[in-house]
């Protein structure tokens, strides 16, 4: 439900600014079919530009569900998207893999599989797949092979890539094979994808094609803007947030015109540009603020939201990577952002994924989760009886109360160093990171998939013309 009256003064002003942008400047959609659908719904179209009245925006956006449930192949990983529920989601879109020291190599399919395994292994994640890295060694049309690998290596909720209508229909065919037929896909959300606007105020053809196919099968789409203050959006953050808000609401309205009630997620990765270089600055405090405002806006529109991550512009696994990642995750988590993509491994302004940062980010996620859990205050936790029992100048190390709580109350670090450390502490920390990574990979167990279903998937991919050796290498 849209609660415009509940908005505070600042949110209200941002909303009004967004409405003015959509009324006066409009948004360009690079797709004749989408333009036609909008025209049929009495949206004013000039050329490729659509102008929305505020009533139209509100009316269409209010048709989107406030929350919905994602269904995984393994129901243990089902979860609700919406409300105050937060799920961390994988990194997305990097075409490089970065070493601790910043050395980069083009991401390969083997990296893609490694990250699938790592996300499968981490108990923080109920979601897997998508573009955990963009493999550069499997040809041009990659999303069907990536989806196949995702389903082979994980039974968590599925994320997919984006592409042309034909490519995305292939994804739906494959999901149909696994989940009881393509036509019944619309009954349950099975996979998520992210479509991005081209700030300022454009939507490209591929993104719209992906969105239309997802809408058709009622699979959830994150509609996200990644506006950059000072380059693709106004220098001032309020204007950047308002512009991103306008784009995302327009996208959501169009999704509802394509298929009323189709699940959508309000997304924003907007942040500032670095004005010394013109580059994006994803670990900036302005980003943290923009991710928070996006969540607040989405919630006031009654929409599930996506934003933030453990984001950094650092080029190496460094102190900068740590402080930026912590800030951005804490900001997005405390705003109760429902889906936090890019929540582990991302480094160098989205350009790279780093295995070691993936592990460090799991530690950040653990710390943030603990912080958000807050302090539980009741008779048991206040422990007045215990304080009385121990008395003045006593100690709590050996009390029963301590025994009962010491593994539950504090966050237990996996890699961080505490207490005295023998030898080189930096080397020890890195060693902890590498050991944890190796352990996660070594203990990975492939989830079961019926050989019959897998056989059908392989057959389908062969029919689509994918290379049999390549398919075989993905098991």
């Amino acid at each position: 439900m849209i609660e415009l009256d509940e908005m505070d003064d600042d949110l209200r002003k941002i909303h009004e600014a967004s409405m003015a942008v959509l009324e006066q400047t409009g948004m360009r959609f690079h797709h004749p079919k989408v333009l036609e659908i909008m025209r049929q719904n009495r949206i004013r179209i000039e050329g490729q530009t659509a102008f929305f009245t505020r009533e139209q925006v509100i009316d269409w956006v209010s048709k989107a569900p406030t929350h919905f449930k994602m269904h995984a192949r393994n129901p243990n990983y089902d979860f609700v998207v919406g409300g105050d529920h937060v799920e961390v989601c994988p990194g997305s879109g990097s075409s490089f893999v970065c070493e601790v020291d910043g050395t980069k190599h083009a991401a390969l399919m083997s990296d893609y599989i490694n990250f699938l395994k790592l996300y499968h292994q981490s108990s923080y994640y109920k979601v897997n797949g998508g573009i955990v890295v963009q493999p550069t060694d499997i040809g041009r049309s990659t999303i069907a092979l990536m989806l196949y690998a995702t389903m082979v290596f994980s039974d968590k909720v599925i994320i997919t890539g984006t592409g042309t209508a034909k490519e995305v229909e292939q994804l739906m065919d494959m999901l149909g094979i696994v989940f009881g037929g393509k036509t019944s896909l619309a009954d349950k959300p099975r996979c998520l994808t992210i479509v991005n606007t081209n700030t300022p105020l454009q939507f490209d053809t591929n993104m719209l094609e992906t969105m239309m196919v997802f809408n058709k099968y009622k699979q959830p789409v994150v509609i996200a803007a990644a506006s950059m203050a000072g380059t693709t959006a106004p220098m001032t953050l309020a204007g950047t947030i308002a512009l991103a808000n306008a784009e995302v609401l327009a996208g959501i309205a169009v999704a509802q015109m394509i298929n009323k009630g189709t699940p959508v997620i309000y997304g924003s990765q907007s942040t500032t540009s670095d004005m010394r270089t013109g580059s994006i600055a994803i670990g900036a405090p302005e980003g943290a603020l923009a991710y928070q405002y996006a969540a607040r806006l989405a919630k006031s529109y009654g929409l599930p939201c996506r934003g933030g991550g453990t984001l950094t512009d650092a080029k190496t696994l460094s102190v900068q990577a740590g402080y930026e990642s912590m800030l951005t995750l804490l900001a997005s988590y405390s705003a109760k952002t429902n889906l936090i993509f890019q929540s582990s491994g991302i480094i160098d302004s989205y350009n790279s994924m780093c295995y070691e940062k993936f592990i460090a980010d799991l530690e950040i996620i653990g710390m943030v989760k603990r912080y958000i859990d807050g302090v539980k205050v009741d008779a048991e936790t206040l422990a007045v009886d215990e304080i009385t029992k121990v008395g003045i100048a006593g100690q709590f190390l050996t009390s029963d109360h301590t025994m009962k709580h010491f593994r539950k109350e504090p966050f237990l670090p996996d890699i961080s160093l505490r207490g005295a450390v023998a030898g080189d502490p930096s080397a020890k920390l890195m060693d902890n990171i590498k050991t944890k990574k190796d352990k996660l990979l070594a203990s990975y167990c492939q989830p079961e998939m019926s050989p019959e279903v897998q056989g059908k998937l392989v057959e389908y991919l062969l029919e689509c013309g994918y290379d049999s050796k390549l398919i075989e290498s993905l098991t």
Binding site: H105, T277, G278
Partner: protein
């Protein structure tokens, strides 16, 4: 009395109207237009370049300076034969097919212009055929390809392949840039150079043209 130093200072400040006045005043005094460009406008812009690299000047300031310098050049251009115009070379610039990202490429274009290159900016979503057409028409020294998406960077390769097929590749240099692009990728697709950011694109162009 107008001076080159004042003119250079106005360029550094990005003061477009003062640059115009100063250039007009110098030409009225009969000063050689090439000297106005070299000792006033380019001298100012070279300070801007140094300060930009040092992180003391920010992108918007550099662009204001570039705009001011261009305004000055437009005034003296009619006074100089085209062949005498100082230029490091001609660059055809565009974002490849399927990609609508405009701003980074434009930034590169403006910084190249301010460094003394003539830039033909084709815009966004430029197909390999359109690049070939532009090369035939403008006969550039460099073709600069931009892409921001991992899904569109493959169009860079297709563009280079078509330039090769048309027998145009050996007559020019190709440079590539954009967030997902790397030196390795540039090598892989047969580009002659890669710059990680707009600031270093001009240096790259000078380097590959052996200037």
């Amino acid at each position: 009395m107008s001076s080159f130093a004042d003119l250079a200072q106005y360029v550094i400040e990005g003061a477009e109207s003062q640059v115009r006045e100063q250039v007009k005043s110098l030409t009225a005094q009969g000063v050689n237009p090439l000297e106005i460009i070299n000792q006033g406008l380019i001298a100012g812009m070279s300070v801007v370049g140094t300060r930009f690299k040092a992180g003391d000047m920010f992108v918007p300031e550099v662009l204001m300076s570039a705009r001011a310098m261009s305004a000055g050049i437009e005034i003296v251009r009619p006074l100089i034969a085209e062949t005498d115009m100082p230029s490091f070379g001609k660059v055809v610039l565009g974002t490849v097919k399927g990609d609508l990202h405009d701003i980074g490429k434009n930034l590169v274009g403006m910084l190249l212009e301010s460094s003394g290159f003539k830039v033909i900016n084709l815009g966004v979503d430029i197909s390999p055929e359109q690049f070939v057409q532009a090369v035939k028409e403008h006969n550039p020294d460099i073709v600069a390809l931009s892409a921001l998406l991992t899904t569109t960077m493959t169009a860079m390769k297709e563009t280079i392949e078509l330039l090769q097929e048309e027998g145009l590749k050996d007559k020019l240099k190709i440079i590539v840039g954009g967030a997902p692009v790397s030196m390795d990728f540039a090598d892989q697709i047969g580009a002659d150079g890669y710059a990680p950011d707009a600031g270093s694109a001009a240096d790259l162009c000078k380097k590959i043209l052996c200037l």
